[in-house]
C-alpha cells in the first residue's frame, strides 16, 4: 500500500515514515504542506493520505477540500492525524469527508494498526 504522509513538522514526517515503512511495511511518501500534498497526490496516486490539520498556508481542511474537488483524487481515503481532536473538531473532519481521525501524539508502533482498523470499517484490507 502506498501512503502519503502530509505534515509540516519534519520530525513527525520522519517518525511517521519509519512507522509506516518499518512497522506497517508500507510504501510511504512525504509532503510538508497542503500544496505539496496535492502535487504528490496527482503524481503518485497514493492508496491513502494521512493529513495533518494545522499547517501553515493551506490547512488540512482546505487540502481535503482541494483533493475532493479533483475527480481523480476525490476517492482517495483521507485520515486526519492531528492534535486538534475536540469532539466538535472531529465531527467537522468526518463531515468534510475524512474516513477517520488519529490523535496526536500517536504511538508509532501502533499507527499502522490504527490505520488498518479505520480502513477495515470501509471494507479495505491493507
Amino acid at each position: 500500500m502506498r501512503v502519503l504522509l502530509v505534515d509540516d513538522e519534519q520530525d513527525i514526517r520522519r517518525i511517521g515514515q519509519l512507522s509506516l515503512e518499518g512497522v506497517g511495511g508500507w510504501q510511504a511518501s512525504l509532503a510538508s504542506s497542503g500544496q505539496e500534498a496535492i502535487e504528490a497526490a496527482r503524481q503518485r496516486r497514493p492508496d491513502l493520505i494521512l493529513l495533518d490539520m494545522m499547517m501553515p498556508g493551506m490547512d488540512g481542511m482546505a487540502t481535503l477540500a482541494r483533493l475532493r474537488a479533483e475527480p481523480d483524487l476525490a476517492s482517495i481515503p483521507v485520515v486526519f492525524v492531528t492534535a486538534k481532536v475536540q469532539r466538535a473538531e472531529v465531527e467537522r473532519y468526518l463531515q468534510a469527508g475524512a474516513v477517520g481521525v488519529i490523535r496526536k501524539p500517536f504511538d508509532p508502533m501502533n499507527l499502522p494498526g490504527e490505520i488498518r482498523t479505520i480502513l477495515a470499517k470501509l471494507g479495505i484490507t491493507a
Partner: protein, 1066 residues
C-alpha cells in the same frame, strides 16, 4: 336642573345665621385669608365662603370670583347644606342635578365643586366653604381633611367676630352712660375719700376696709403723695388739678399690687367747694379681668387659627408647638412651661419628650444643654417628680408649694425656684398621648387654671398625634425615597439595558444603558413595541415568557447583537408590567470563543512536540531501528512511560478545563450498559494483562442507561486503570452491573490495599492522592477521579467509594437507567423535504435528548410509523400537499390518532385556521425560533396530562427560587417552600409530581423530608454533596455549583416525562 330643597328647621337656621350679623358686611381679612388658603390647599382657581340666606347665597369671602351673591335656586352650596358629608362633585357634566345649571353652562363654568359645611356650634349649617374648578378633578384625602379644618376655622372666626362685636357693644354702652354715671358717682357705694386742697386725707368711708392697703388711721391726716406709690400719686395730682380747672369729674385708672395680686382701680376725681376734692375709688378688677379674659380668648382663637394654619400648610415643626406653648403660657399667666408627648421605654415605664419648653437655663451649662437638645426634644425620665406624678397617675397635678410637696424631689441646683406647678395629662380617647406642664403663675394654680386650659387640651393632643403621624410618614417616605434613589442609581448606572414593558409589550421606561445599547434616544424608545428590537418576537403577539435566554437584539440602525434577556413580571397595582434586562453578550461569547480556541491551540502546541518525542521513543523501544543494549532499552522505557504520562496529564488538564468552563458537551443516548462494559473491558484488557491483572465482568441485570458513550468509556477506563494499578500481580478486578432503584449501578472492585479511611473524603478531589509517591509509582495524573466524578454527575449519576469486604476498594457509579418499555428517549419523527430544516430540527431535538428520525417522504413516514413507536411528529407543511394528507390520515387512524403533532408553516395565514381541526400541539412559523421549538416540544410531552405538573421547590434561597421559576417551562406550576415546615404543609395540602430539595434548610436537614414523600420523585439540588446512602434514596442528587441550568432543566423535564409515561403510556 334640580333646585335645592329647604333644610329642616330653616327658620331657626336663618335666625342663627343672622345672629352673626355678618350678611352684607364688607370683606374682612380673616375670612379672605381662609378662602385664599382653601384655594391654595385644593389647588383650585376659585374658593368661596358662601352663606345661605333665605333667597340667595351671599359670599363673605371670594377668591377667584367676582359675583358677590347668586340666587339660592342655582346655588351648589344650598345643596351642600342638605347633607352631613361634604358635597363633592367631581364632574358637573356627569351629575343630573347640575349638568344644566347656569353656573355650569355659563360663567363661571363650574365643572368641579366641593363644599364643606359651616356648622355653628349648635349644629346649624349656615353655608359652606367651597372650592370650584373649571375642569373635572378629584380631591385627595389630605386636601379634603385640610378643607374640613378650614371650614371649622371659618366658624371659629364667625364666633370670634361675634364675641368681639359684643365687647364693642358693651364699650359703646358704657360711653353712652358715662354722663349719667358721673351724676350719681357721689352716691355710689365704694371707697370714698375727701381730700383737702393740699391733698391730705380728711375723710373716708367704704364698704370693705379690707381693700385698703393701710389702715385708715395711718393715712387720715396724711397726704396721698405719702401713701400712694410715686407714679400713681403723680397722676392723682394731675387729675385733681384738672378736675378743679375744668370743673369736671376726671376718671383715672391705675393699678396697685395688693397681696401679690395686681388689681385695677378706677378713681373718679370730682372737684368740691373750697378746693377740696372728692375721690370715689372703684375696684375695676373683676371687669378688667373679664375684658382681659375676652382679649386673651381672642388671642387664643387667633393663635389657634395660626397654629392650625401652620399645621395645614405642612409646617408641622416645633414652631407650631412653641407657638402653642406661648399661647398657653399667656392664657394661664405662667412663667415657664412645656408641651410634650408621653412615651414608654422598653420596661414599660412612661417618660416625657418635649416638643416645646421655656428656656429656663440658669447657667452656662444648662444653657448649652438646652440649646443642644431642645431641637430634638428633651427627654425626662425621672418619675419621682411632679410631672412624673402626672405620667404615673394620669390625672392633673396642682402644687402651689412644690418645695415642700412630698411628690416632688426638688429641682436641680440653680434651677429657678418653683413657686407653683400645674401638670395636665392629654388624652386621645383613653390613651395618654402627652402632657402640658406649667409653672410659677403668680398666685398659684387652681381649678380655674384647669378650666382655662380646657380649650387647648383636645387641640394639643390632636397636634401631638398628628405630629407623630407626620413624623412617622416622613420617616417612611424618606426611607422609601432613599431606597428608590438607591435602586434608581443602580438602574441608571447599570451597563445592562433595563426596560419596563407594559401589558402589550410596549416600552414604558428605559434606563440610560438601554438608549446606548439600542442606539436610540430614550424618548424614541418609549412607546415602541419591544418586537421592533427583538427579531424573534417580530410579527408575534406579545406575551410573557416568549423570549428567554440568548437571543439576537436589533439596534435602531438595523445592526444586531447577541444578548441574554432576563424577564420578570412586575405587579404594579392592577397592572402587570414586565421588566427586561438585556445584557449584551458579544464580549462573553467572544471570550468563550477565545477560551475554546485557546484550549484547542494549547492542546495542539503541546501535543506536537510530544508527538515527536513519543514517536521517537516508541520507535526505539519497539525495536524498529534495531536492538538496543539492555541498559539503553531500560532508559528508553522510562522515557516512554513518562512521555505517556505527560500526554495523559495534558489530556486530563484540558478535560478538567472544559468541564469547569462548562464547555464539555454530552451526547446523551440510550445505551445498553452491558455492551459498554464489555467494550471497556476489551479496551483495557491489554493494560491489565501488562500488569498481570485479570478483568472479570459480572452482570445480573441487563439494562439501558441514558448516557454519553464516550464519556462513559472515559470513566470506566479511569476506574479500571486505577483498579489495575493498585491490584497485586495476579489479582482480579471485578466489574459488576446491578440495578439501583430506577437506574443502574456499576461497581469496580479490586484486591488492592483499599483507600485509607482518612483519605476517603478527599478521594474525588483534584490532585489528591493517598500517597504522594503514588503519583510517580503509579503514573497517575491526580485528576482521573475528579474528572470521572464530573462526568458521572453530568450524566445525572453518582460516583462513590466503598471498602471491599476482602480489604480492597470498590469504586461505583450509578446512572439514570430505564426499564424496557417505560423509559426511553422520546422518539420524534421529522417529516420534511428540506434537508436544511431537517438538520436544524434534528440538532435542536438532540439537545432536548430526543431521538430524531428524519424522513423526507410521507411514504417513508407511514412505513416508520407502522414499524415503531413515535412519541411526536414534526410535520413540515411547506413540504407539499402530501404532508397535509398525512396529517389527515394520522388523525383518522385510531392507533396514530393520539400522536402529538407539531406543524411547521411558512407563514401563518388566515386560511390556515383550518389546522385547528387537527388538534396540533403547536404551529411553528418559519424562520424557526429555537426557543419556541423547545417550548413546543416540551409542551407536547406534557399535553396528555390532565393538569400541568406541580413541582415543590424546597429552598430557602429566594433568588434561586426565582431562577428556578424562569428555568422551568412556564406551564409548570412551581410551589416554593422556604423551610421544612412549609414543605410539610404544602405536601399535606396537595400532591406534587416532583420535589426539588435543598439539604440545608433553616429548620433542619432536607433529608428529613424523604420519609414523607412516598413515590414522588425527589431531586436533591444542594450546595453540599449528598452522601451515597442519601443519593440512593432519591432520584438524583445534584450539586449547585456543578450543575448547569440546562442540565437541571433537562433532568427535570425527563423525570416528569417519565413519571407521565407510567401513568399514561404514549
Amino acid at each position: 336642573m334640580v333646585p335645592p330643597k329647604l333644610p329642616p328647621q330653616e327658620a331657626a337656621r336663618l335666625e342663627r345665621l343672622r345672629s352673626y350679623a355678618i350678611l352684607d358686611t364688607p370683606p374682612e381679612e380673616a375670612f379672605d385669608d381662609l378662602v385664599h388658603l382653601a384655594a391654595h390647599v385644593a389647588q383650585t382657581p376659585i374658593a368661596l365662603i358662601s352663606l345661605i340666606d333665605s333667597e340667595r347665597q351671599w359670599f363673605k369671602a371670594r377668591y377667584g370670583l367676582a359675583a358677590p351673591e347668586t340666587p339660592r335656586s342655582v346655588s351648589f352650596c344650598a345643596h351642600a347644606i342638605l347633607q352631613e358629608e361634604a358635597l363633592i362633585i367631581e364632574d358637573t357634566h356627569l351629575d343630573a342635578r347640575f349638568v344644566d345649571n347656569p353656573l355650569v353652562t355659563a360663567n363661571p363654568w363650574i365643572r368641579f365643586y366641593a363644599g364643606f359645611q359651616l356648622r355653628s356650634p349648635d349644629g346649624y349649617k349656615l353655608g359652606t366653604l367651597c372650592v370650584i374648578d373649571r375642569q373635572p378633578r378629584r380631591l385627595d384625602a389630605a386636601s379634603r381633611e385640610a378643607l374640613l379644618r378650614l371650614a371649622r376655622q371659618v366658624i371659629a372666626q364667625l364666633e370670634l367676630r361675634r364675641n368681639a362685636q359684643e365687647l364693642r357693644d358693651a364699650q359703646e354702652d358704657r360711653a353712652a352712660q358715662s354722663a349719667t354715671r358721673q351724676a350719681v358717682l357721689a352716691a355710689l357705694p365704694g371707697l370714698f375719700f375727701r381730700l383737702s386742697s393740699s391733698g391730705v386725707f380728711l375723710e373716708y368711708h367704704g364698704r370693705d376696709s379690707d381693700d385698703l392697703l393701710v389702715p385708715p388711721a395711718v393715712f387720715l391726716g396724711r397726704s396721698f403723695s405719702e401713701i400712694l406709690p410715686e407714679d400713681v400719686a403723680k397722676r392723682f395730682q394731675q387729675a385733681i388739678r384738672q378736675a378743679h380747672r375744668e370743673q369736671q369729674v376726671q376718671i383715672l385708672g391705675y393699678e396697685l399690687e395688693l397681696q401679690g395680686v395686681v388689681r385695677t382701680y378706677e378713681a373718679r376725681v370730682a372737684p368740691a367747694p373750697q378746693g377740696e376734692t372728692m375721690v370715689l375709688i372703684h375696684d375695676e378688677s373683676p371687669r378688667a379681668e373679664a375684658e382681659q379674659r375676652l382679649r386673651a380668648l381672642s388671642e387664643l382663637q387667633s393663635a389657634m387659627v395660626r397654629i392650625q394654619e401652620d399645621f395645614i400648610l405642612n409646617d408641622a415643626s416645633r414652631q407650631v408647638f412653641n407657638r402653642l406653648l406661648d399661647a398657653i403660657l399667656k392664657q394661664t399667666e405662667s412663667r415657664f412651661g412645656f408641651l410634650g408627648e408621653t412615651l414608654e421605654d422598653e420596661a414599660g415605664q412612661p417618660y416625657l419628650r418635649t416638643f416645646a419648653i421655656s428656656d429656663i437655663a440658669w447657667d452656662q451649662a444648662s444653657a448649652d444643654f438646652y440649646r443642644e437638645h431642645v431641637g430634638a426634644g428633651l427627654e425626662f425620665r425621672s418619675l419621682k417628680t411632679l410631672f412624673g406624678e402626672v405620667l404615673t397617675t394620669r390625672v392633673a397635678v396642682i402644687s402651689n408649694d412644690p418645695a415642700r410637696d412630698p411628690r416632688s424631689r426638688g429641682v436641680p441646683e440653680g434651677h429657678p425656684r418653683l413657686t407653683a406647678f400645674l401638670g395636665l395629662p392629654l388624652f386621645r380617647g383613653k390613651r395618654m398621648v402627652g402632657m402640658i406642664g406649667l409653672a410659677n403663675r403668680p398666685g398659684g394654680y387652681d381649678a380655674s387654671a384647669l378650666a382655662r386650659l380646657e380649650p387647648f387640651k383636645a387641640m394639643t393632643a390632636n397636634l401631638i398625634e398628628a405630629h407623630r403621624a407626620v413624623t412617622a410618614r416622613l420617616r417612611s417616605e424618606q426611607a422609601l425615597q432613599e431606597s428608590e434613589a438607591r435602586i434608581r442609581a443602580v438602574v441608571d448606572t447599570a451597563t445592562d439595558a433595563i426596560l419596563t414593558l407594559d401589558e402589550t409589550g410596549r416600552i414604558e421606561r428605559v434606563n440610560p444603558a438601554t438608549a446606548r445599547s439600542l442606539g436610540s434616544d430614550a424618548s424614541e424608545l418609549v412607546g415602541s413595541p419591544i418586537g421592533r428590537f427583538v427579531p424573534a418576537l417580530e410579527g408575534r403577539a406579545w406575551a410573557l415568557g416568549r423570549v428567554r435566554g440568548e437571543v439576537w437584539v436589533r439596534r435602531a440602525d438595523g445592526s444586531e447583537f447577541p444578548a441574554e434577556i432576563t424577564e420578570s413580571p412586575l405587579g404594579l397595582g392592577e397592572r402587570t408590567l414586565t421588566t427586561w434586562i438585556i445584557r449584551d453578550i458579544t464580549e462573553r461569547l467572544k471570550i468563550a470563543r477565545l477560551q475554546s480556541e485557546f484550549i484547542s491551540t494549547v492542546s495542539h502546541e503541546l501535543r506536537t512536540p510530544l508527538t515527536s518525542i513519543r514517536g521517537s521513543l516508541g520507535l526505539l523501544a519497539g525495536g524498529v531501528l534495531g536492538a538496543l543494549p539492555s541498559a539503553a532499552q531500560e532508559m528508553i522505557g522510562i522515557a516512554l512511560n513518562n512521555s505517556d504520562r505527560l500526554v495523559r496529564l495534558i489530556n486530563d488538564i484540558l478535560d478538567m478545563e472544559k468541564i469547569e468552563a462548562g464547555r464539555m458537551d454530552f451526547n446523551m443516548e440510550t445505551l445498553e450498559l452491558e455492551d459498554v462494559l464489555v467494550q471497556a473491558l476489551e479496551a483495557n484488557a491489554a493494560y491489565a494483562s501488562a500488569h498481570g491483572v485479570r478483568l472479570l465482568l459480572e452482570t445480573s441485570t441487563p439494562g439501558a442507561v441514558w448516557a454519553d458513550a464516550d464519556r462513559l468509556a472515559q470513566v470506566l477506563a479511569n476506574l479500571l486503570s486505577n483498579a489495575v494499578k493498585f491490584s497485586p500481580e495476579g489479582g482480579v478486578v471485578t466489574v459488576r452491573l446491578r440495578s439501583d432503584g430506577d437506574g443502574l449501578r456499576v461497581e469496580v472492585e479490586d484486591q488492592g490495599p483499599g483507600v485509607p479511611e482518612e483519605f476517603r473524603e478527599r478521594l474525588f478531589e483534584r490532585f489528591s492522592q493517598a500517597d504522594a509517591s503514588d503519583t510517580r509509582s503509579k503514573g497517575g495524573t491526580g485528576l482521573g477521579l475528579s474528572i470521572s466524578r464530573a462526568l458521572v454527575e453530568h450524566m445525572q449519576g453518582q460516583i462513590g467509594y466503598a471498602p471491599a469486604p476482602g480489604g480492597g476498594s470498590i469504586f461505583f457509579f450509578t446512572l439514570p437507567g430505564q426499564r424496557p418499555g417505560l423509559l426511553h428517549a422520546p422518539i420524534v419523527m421529522l417529516c420534511s423535504t428540506s434537508p436544511a430544516l431537517a438538520g436544524a430540527l434534528g440538532e435542536a431535538l438532540r439537545h432536548l435528548s430526543c431521538q430524531a428520525y428524519p424522513v423526507s417522504r410521507t411514504e417513508e413516514a407511514r412505513e416508520l410509523l407502522s414499524a415503531r413507536r413515535c412519541d411526536l411528529l414534526l410535520l413540515d407543511l411547506t413540504s407539499g400537499e402530501a404532508c397535509l394528507a398525512l396529517l389527515e390520515e394520522l388523525r383518522r387512524t385510531p392507533q396514530w390518532a393520539s400522536i402529538p403533532v407539531i406543524a411547521i408553516a411558512g407563514q401563518l395565514l388566515e386560511e390556515d385556521t383550518h389546522l385547528g381541526a387537527f388538534s396540533l400541539v403547536d404551529i411553528l412559523e418559519l424562520p424557526l425560533n429555537e426557543d419556541r421549538l423547545v417550548q413546543a416540544v416540551t409542551a407536547a410531552f406534557l399535553t396528555s396530562r390532565s393538569r400541568s405538573p406541580r413541582v415543590l421547590h424546597v429552598e430557602d434561597d429566594l433568588d434561586l427560587g426565582r431562577m428556578m421559576r424562569r428555568l422551568l417551562p412556564p406551564s409548570w406550576e412551581l410551589i416554593q417552600a422556604g423551610s421544612l415546615q412549609e414543605a410539610f404543609r404544602q405536601m399535606e395540602r396537595s400532591t406534587f409530581e416532583l420535589i426539588l430539595l435543598d439539604l440545608s434548610l433553616p429548620d433542619g436537614d432536607g433529608e428529613l423530608l424523604l420519609d414523607r414523600v412516598g413515590d414522588t420523585p425527589v431531586v436533591i439540588f444542594s450546595a453540599k454533596d449528598a452522601s451515597p446512602a442519601l443519593a440512593r434514596r432519591v432520584h438524583a442528587a445534584l450539586v449547585k455549583t456543578r450543575t448547569s441550568a440546562e442540565d437541571l432543566r433537562g433532568l427535570l423535564v425527563r423525570i416528569l416525562r417519565r413519571s407521565e409515561d407510567r401513568t399514561a403510556p404514549l
